[in-house]
């Protein structure tokens, strides 16, 4: 899943790149959402008494519940979402996918054991591990989105790569996913926790790639190498090299090739037939649809269609669905609040210098509210 420990590494080395914001501050923004990630989240999180929601035939409906209500929440906050679905996985991901399959089998075995033993907590735990987003789930989500008037895009390959391309082309403002590899694919702004439930009161985390590169003092090319060293979905990494050492090595040698020439291979054994070049190419030039050809259009929701789709066999409450459709409709009618950014020009940014070793200066907002920091650099 994404890049191993990148979030933690950024918090330590480039805290200024991570900002926290309330969801309501994203009004008027077009945001590309990683659909598979969202569906997965919903299948895990939208539950009643530990079980997924199901319809009369025992088919899961958690994902539809999630897509419907969380999308409405985004729209009510003035956000214009566009969902991006994964296409076929890249060939290089097969290793990772096999690993996931093995883990799934393990979980299945543990689940059987737990069921035999009757251990409720364990059953639930392994049940969650077995959650998988199927083609059927994705297809239903697409139908639902069409009825809601929300656009979606079928990426030819990885959704994060497609999202990143759309951000770069200025089609959307940001990519929303939990996967950090959206940054590696070059999305300028990554939003995390956007589709979390409101009840969790989790602020949206905004990560800026330019500030990440600045904070780590690496180029975009070097950043990709760093992500490969940390561990990505497409190839193995060198055993024994974690976040701290990876960044030290990269800053010293500036590329995986020179690192390989300089490290003690008996201590740090690179994987056999390590295809880091392939992974690098995948990040730099992924298979995507030309973002210029994408036209995003938000339509009026089809209230009766929604009721027909969700309230028949799927047993959703008709009144709630109609209410939801009205909310979508209402949000479309209002004019958008403008921002000052477009009117005024930024003269200077005064970003206070933060020392990496200073514990107080990790991007912990609570510490900030307390006001216990040093004063800004006098001019």
């Amino acid at each position: 899943m994404g890049i191993l420990n990148l979030a933690k590494l950024l918090a330590d080395y480039a805290p200024q790149a991570i900002k926290e914001n309330e969801i309501k501050n994203y009004f008027g923004r077009k945001i590309a959402l990683d659909a598979s990630m969202c569906l997965y989240q919903f299948l895990i999180a939208v539950r009643s008494e530990g079980k997924q929601l199901t319809d009369a035939n025992g088919e899961t409906t958690s994902h539809l519940m999630g897509v419907f209500y969380r999308t409405i929440r985004l729209v009510e906050n003035g956000i214009k979402p566009v969902y991006v679905f994964d296409g076929k996985p890249p060939d290089m991901k097969s290793g990772e996918l096999n690993k996931r399959m093995e883990k799934r089998e393990e979980a299945q075995k543990s689940l059987e054991k737990a069921t035999e033993a009757g251990d409720e907590a364990e059953i639930e735990k392994f049940n969650r591990r077995l959650v998988k987003v199927t083609k059927h789930h994705a297809e239903e989500a697409r139908q639902l989105l069409t009825l809601m008037g929300i656009p979606y895009i079928d990426a030819p390959c990885e959704a994060e790569a497609q999202c990143a391309a759309m951000v770069k082309a200025g089609k959307v403002y940001a990519t929303a996913t939990e996967d950090m590899d959206a940054l590696t694919f070059g999305t300028n702004i990554l939003l995390r926790h956007l589709t979390y439930s409101e009840a969790r009161k989790m602020p949206v985390q905004e990560i800026h790639l330019d500030l990440v590169l600045n904070g780590l003092d690496v180029s975009r090319k070097e950043f990709i190498d760093l992500c490969i060293l940390l561990g990505c979905d497409y190839t193995d990494s060198i055993k024994g090299i974690g976040g701290k050492r990876a960044i030290e090595l990269l800053k010293k040698h500036r590329s995986i090739e020179t690192i390989l020439d300089n490290i003690d291979k008996s201590k740090y054994l690179p994987p056999e037939e390590w295809n880091y070049e392939g992974a690098r190419k995948l990040f730099e030039d992924p298979e995507i649809m030309d973002p210029e050809k994408i036209e995003l259009k938000w339509n009026d929701p089809d209230e009766d269609g929604l009721v027909k789709f969700l309230c028949g066999d799927k047993q959703f409450n008709e009144e709630r669905i109609r209410n939801g459709a009205k909310k979508l409709m209402k949000a479309r009618g209002t004019s958008t609040q403008g921002r000052l950014d477009g009117f005024f020009t930024v003269l200077s940014t005064n970003t206070p210098k933060r020392k990496v070793d200073d514990k107080k200066n990790t991007p912990n907002k609570k510490a900030k509210v307390g006001g216990g920091r040093g004063r800004g650099k006098p001019k």
């Binding site: 958008t336 609040q337 403008g338 040093g374 800004g376 006098p378």
Partner: protein, 260 residues
């Protein structure tokens, strides 16, 4: 060394009231000119620009320019400790990470000292271009506050349209609609009670009530308010602080969605 002394601490209280709705933290830039503050709210919809000129203080000394980042909730706590007729002195060392507020009672029999930790704040300085506005409206600040409060009951946004007949504020929502028209009045005896409209070209713009209502928190600072508008640029709402400076609010208009 920085030191600024103000006889009326009430003014400071009012200034703080006028900004704390919009900002949670703020950086005060101190220089020979005075104390300045420029900051946008979190959503980047409005901007506060405040200046308290050095000559407006009873005593002002600033050896080196310095920026003081403060949490406004903490600052409010401290300022609340002052009586309205106390004299307030703000002090900071050149390289200190704290600021001291000293309140002296009128009879000089009580002196209180409050020290507050300063913060390191990320901030962007924005260049605000000089605009020749199509419409400038001067009116009693209390009247403006009243209009904003009344209209916000009807909808989320207020449409302000200025023509040669006068200025019209309107709002519409679920319960119905509301319209308030003001015409130019000149009251030579009491200039502050008159409505003066200086119009080059008619303008109609829509703004969010929520922000306008936050701006009107500055009403106690000044009897008059000036609104400046031009098509497609932010609204400027300005309150003069007598003998000390001014506070200006900029607000981005609402835009109709043309894509859908």
């Amino acid at each position: 060394m920085f030191e600024a002394r103000l006889v009326a601490s009430a003014t400071l209280k009012k200034v703080l009231e006028a900004i704390k709705d919009l900002l949670t933290d703020a950086s005060f830039d101190c220089s020979d000119v005075g104390i300045q503050l420029q900051a946008m709210d979190n959503s980047h919809v409005s901007l506060v620009s405040l200046i308290l000129r050095s000559d407006g203080f009873d005593k002002y000394r600033c050896d080196r320019n310095l920026t003081m980042g403060m949490n406004l909730a903490s600052l409010t706590k401290i300022i609340k400790c002052a009586n309205n007729d106390d004299t307030v002195t703000i002090k900071a060392q050149d390289d200190a990470d704290t600021v001291t507020f000293m309140f002296e009672s009128k009879k000089h029999d009580k002196i209180s000292d409050y020290e507050m930790k300063l913060m390191n704040l990320d901030q962007e300085h924005l260049g605000i271009p000089e605009t020749a506005f199509s419409c400038k409206i001067k009116m009693p600040s209390v009247e403006f506050a009243r209009i904003c409060r009344d209209l916000s009951q009807f909808g989320d946004s207020v449409m302000i349209s200025c023509t040669k007949e006068g200025v019209k504020f309107s709002a519409a929502g679920d319960i119905g609609s509301a319209n308030i028209k003001l015409t130019q009045t000149t009251n030579f005896d009491k200039e502050e009670e008159s409505v003066i409209i200086d119009m080059q070209e008619p303008v109609t713009l829509t703004f969010a009530c929520q922000y306008l209502n936050s701006f009107t928190k500055a009403t106690p600072l000044s009897v008059q308010v000036q609104l400046s508008m031009s098509a497609n640029v932010p609204l400027v709402v300005e309150y003069q602080i007598p003998d000390l400076g001014h506070i200006r609010y900029y607000l981005a208009p609402k835009i109709e969605d043309d894509e859908n």
